[in-house]
C-alpha cells in the first residue's frame, strides 16, 4: 500500500466540514498517526478473499410492496430549523434564481 499523507483540510472540505486553523493543526498529526496505524492491514494476504460487505450475509430481504401511510407531514416538519408552509426553507441554491 502506498503511504500518502492525509491532507486534513482537503478531506474536511470533501466532508462538508469547516475546520478552524486550531482544529486543522490539532487533527493533522492525529489523523496521520491513525492512518499510519490502520495501514497495518496492508501486510495481510487477501488474495482471493471475498469482501464482507455487511454484518450478516443476507440475500434479497424483501417485503411486500404495498402503499401505506408515511409519517404525518406536520411531524416530519416538526424539527425543521426553518420552514415555509409545508416545505423546509433553505438559502437560494441556483445561481441567479429568484430567492
Amino acid at each position: 500500500m502506498t503511504s500518502p499523507k492525509i491532507d486534513v483540510a482537503y478531506v474536511a472540505e470533501l466532508a462538508r466540514l469547516e475546520l478552524t486553523e486550531e482544529e486543522k493543526a490539532l487533527f493533522q498529526p492525529q489523523m496521520e498517526s491513525i492512518v499510519k496505524y490502520v495501514e497495518k492491514i496492508s501486510s495481510v494476504d487477501v488474495e482471493g478473499v471475498p469482501p464482507m460487505m455487511h454484518g450478516r450475509e443476507l440475500v434479497n430481504s424483501f417485503r411486500e410492496d404495498v402503499v401505506r401511510p408515511s409519517m404525518d407531514r406536520e411531524k416530519a416538519l416538526g424539527n425543521a430549523p426553518a420552514r415555509v408552509g409545508d416545505e423546509f426553507l433553505l438559502p437560494k441554491i441556483v445561481e441567479g434564481a429568484e430567492s
Binding site: 490502520v38 430481504s61 433553505l90 438559502p91
Partner: protein, 472 residues
C-alpha cells in the same frame, strides 16, 4: 423498601404480587436520581410527567433507562451532541415499541459519547458522567450513562448500543451485565446510526437473567430493518433454568497470551475466571484468532467510513442545528456541521471520508472488508471447536477522567471487543471481580467477555448465567 435497588426479575415479581405498581417504580427512580445522580450524572434528561403517565397506563411495566440515541416519541434524542439540541423524536424506535408491548416502559435518557464514538463518555457534548465506583473515573463508553445508571442503582436496567464494545466495556467498568446481540438479532430502526454494519442495541442489567429478559423483549424480525431475519426469538430467560458449565467447551485465545497493554489485575481476574470455569466442569480449549491483531485497524477504517456516510444527514436542512453564519447552501452545510459536531466526531468523519475517497478506497475500505472476512472465518473455525470464547472485556479497569488524551490510545480500549463486533457474533460482559485496592486506585469492577456464534444468544446467556452462579 428501596425499590431502586431491584432488578427486572424482582421488580416483576413485586408487580405481579401487587406489592407495588409501575408508578411506584418510576417514583423510586425519580427520588433516587434526585439524591444520587447529582454526583454521577448518568441521566441527561428525565421526563417525569411522561414516565408517570406511561406507568399509569401500564401499571405492571418495569421502567428502563434509554441511551440518548434511541428515539422515543415526544422525547429529546441528542446522541450526546450539540447538533441535535432541541430535537424531539416524532416516533418510537422498534426496540421501544417491542419493549412497551412486553412489559417495559422507557423512563429517562442517559448520557453517551457523541454519536456513540468513544470509550469514556467524555465525548458527550452535554455533560460529564462519573463511574459510580470511583467518581474520579470514567464509566466507560459509549453507553457510559447506561452503565453508570445500572451500576449506580439509578435504574432497574438500561438499553445501550454497541458498535465496537460500547455496551461491554462500560458494563465491565460499572459492574453490570452487558449483552451485545448478534448482528441482525435486534432491529436498528429508530436508532441513530453510527456504523450500520456493526451497530446493535442491547441490554445493560444487574444480572444475566435480567439481561436475558430485556433482550427477549427487544429482539426479533422487523420489516423496517432488512438485516433482521425471521428466526424466532427464544425465551432466553426460561432457557436459563439449570444452566451449567459442565462439559461446556470454553476457548481461550492463543494470540492474547502475554498481549501488551493488559492490566495485571485484569489478567489475574481473567485467569481466575478461567479457573472458576474449569472448577465448574468446563473444558478449556486453546483457540486461535490469527487475524484478531488486524481487527482494530479494520474497525477504524470500516466504522468511520460508515459513520461519514451516516452523519451526512446532519446538514442543517431538515432537523438539528443550523448555523446562523451561513449565507449559501455550502456554508450552511459546512458551518452547521462545524458548530454542531465535537472533535472526535469530526475526526471520524474525516477518517471515513478519507478511506472512501477516490484513489484510496481499494487500499483501505475494500481491503478492510476482505480482512473482515478473514476475521469472521477465524471465529467460525474457533466455534467448530468450542461453545464460547472467554477473553478480558477491556484491557484495563476504569481509567481517570481526562487520563487518555490521545485518540489512538483511547481506541485501544476496544481491543478485545472489536473482533467479535466485526464478525457479527454475539458477546456479553459479565462481572468477574474487583481489582485489589491500591494507594492510587480503589477496588474497581472488572468484567470478562464471553463470545458465542451468530444467533447463539441462548447459549451465550446460559454460559454467562452459569458463570455468574460460579462466581457467587
Amino acid at each position: 423498601m428501596e425499590l431502586w435497588k431491584l432488578g427486572i426479575k424482582a421488580a416483576r415479581e413485586g408487580l405481579e404480587k401487587g406489592d407495588f405498581t409501575s408508578r411506584d417504580l418510576v417514583e423510586a427512580i425519580i427520588a433516587r436520581r434526585n439524591e444520587a445522580d447529582t454526583k454521577i450524572g448518568a441521566y441527561l434528561t428525565f421526563d417525569e410527567e411522561q414516565a408517570l403517565a406511561l406507568a399509569d397506563a401500564n401499571p405492571k411495566a418495569v421502567p428502563i433507562a434509554v441511551k440518548d440515541l434511541i428515539n422515543v416519541t415526544g422525547q429529546p434524542c441528542t446522541c450526546g451532541s450539540k447538533i441535535l439540541k432541541g430535537y424531539i423524536s416524532p416516533y418510537d424506535a422498534t426496540v421501544i415499541r417491542n419493549m412497551k408491548a412486553r412489559g417495559f416502559i422507557p423512563a429517562g435518557r442517559v448520557n453517551m459519547d457523541e454519536f456513540a464514538m468513544g470509550s469514556s463518555t467524555e465525548n458527550s457534548a452535554l455533560g460529564v458522567t462519573r463511574n459510580p465506583f470511583d467518581l474520579e473515573r470514567v464509566p466507560g463508553g459509549s453507553s457510559g450513562g447506561s452503565a453508570a445508571a445500572v451500576g449506580g442503582e439509578l435504574c432497574y436496567a438500561a438499553l445501550g448500543t454497541d458498535t465496537g464494545g460500547s455496551i461491554r466495556q462500560p458494563a465491565s467498568f460499572c459492574n453490570c451485565v452487558g449483552v451485545k446481540p448478534s448482528y441482525g438479532r435486534v432491529s436498528r430502526f429508530g436508532v441513530t446510526a453510527f456504523a450500520s454494519s456493526l451497530d446493535q442495541v442491547g441490554p445493560l442489567a444487574k444480572s444475566v437473567e435480567d439481561a436475558a429478559i430485556l433482550l427477549g423483549a427487544i429482539a426479533g424480525h422487523d420489516e423496517m430493518d432488512g438485516t433482521t431475519p425471521k428466526d424466532p426469538v427464544p425465551d432466553y430467560a426460561a432457557l436459563l433454568a439449570g444452566a451449567s458449565l459442565k462439559g461446556v467447551r470454553i476457548g481461550v485465545v492463543k494470540e492474547y497470551a502475554g498481549i501488551a497493554g493488559l492490566d495485571p489485575e485484569v489478567k489475574r481476574i481473567t485467569d481466575e475466571a478461567i479457573a472458576k470455569c474449569t472448577a465448574a466442569g468446563a473444558e478449556i480449549v486453546e483457540v486461535s484468532l490469527p487475524h484478531a491483531e488486524y481487527a482494530m485497524a479494520v474497525y477504524y477504517i470500516i466504522a468511520p467510513a460508515e459513520a461519514s456516510a451516516n452523519l451526512a444527514r446532519f446538514d442543517g436542512v431538515r432537523y438539528g442545528h443550523r448555523s446562523e453564519r451561513s449565507n449559501d447552501v455550502f456554508s450552511l452545510y459546512t458551518r452547521s456541521r462545524a458548530e454542531g459536531f465535537g472533535p472526535e466526531v469530526k475526526r471520524r468523519i474525516i477518517m471515513g471520508t478519507y478511506v472512501l475517497s477516490s484513489g484510496y478506497y481499494d487500499a483501505y475500505y475494500g481491503r478492510a472488508q476482505k480482512v473482515r472476512t478473514l476475521i469472521r472465518c477465524d471465529f467460525e473455525e474457533a466455534f467448530s471447536k468450542v461453545d464460547a470464547i472467554l477473553t478480558p472485556c477491556a484491557p484495563t479497569p476504569a481509567f481517570k477522567l481526562g487520563e487518555l488524551q490521545d485518540p489512538l490510545t483511547m481506541y485501544l480500549n476496544d481491543l478485545f471487543t472489536i473482533p467479535s463486533s466485526l464478525a457479527g457474533v454475539c458477546a456479553a460482559s459479565v462481572p468477574a471481580g474487583f481489582t485489589a485496592a491500591r494507594p492510587d486506585r480503589p477496588a474497581l469492577p472488572v468484567g470478562v467477555q464471553f463470545i458465542c456464534a451468530s444467533f447463539a444468544e441462548s447459549k451465550l446467556l446460559q454460559i454467562s448465567k452459569a458463570f455468574e452462579e460460579a462466581m457467587k
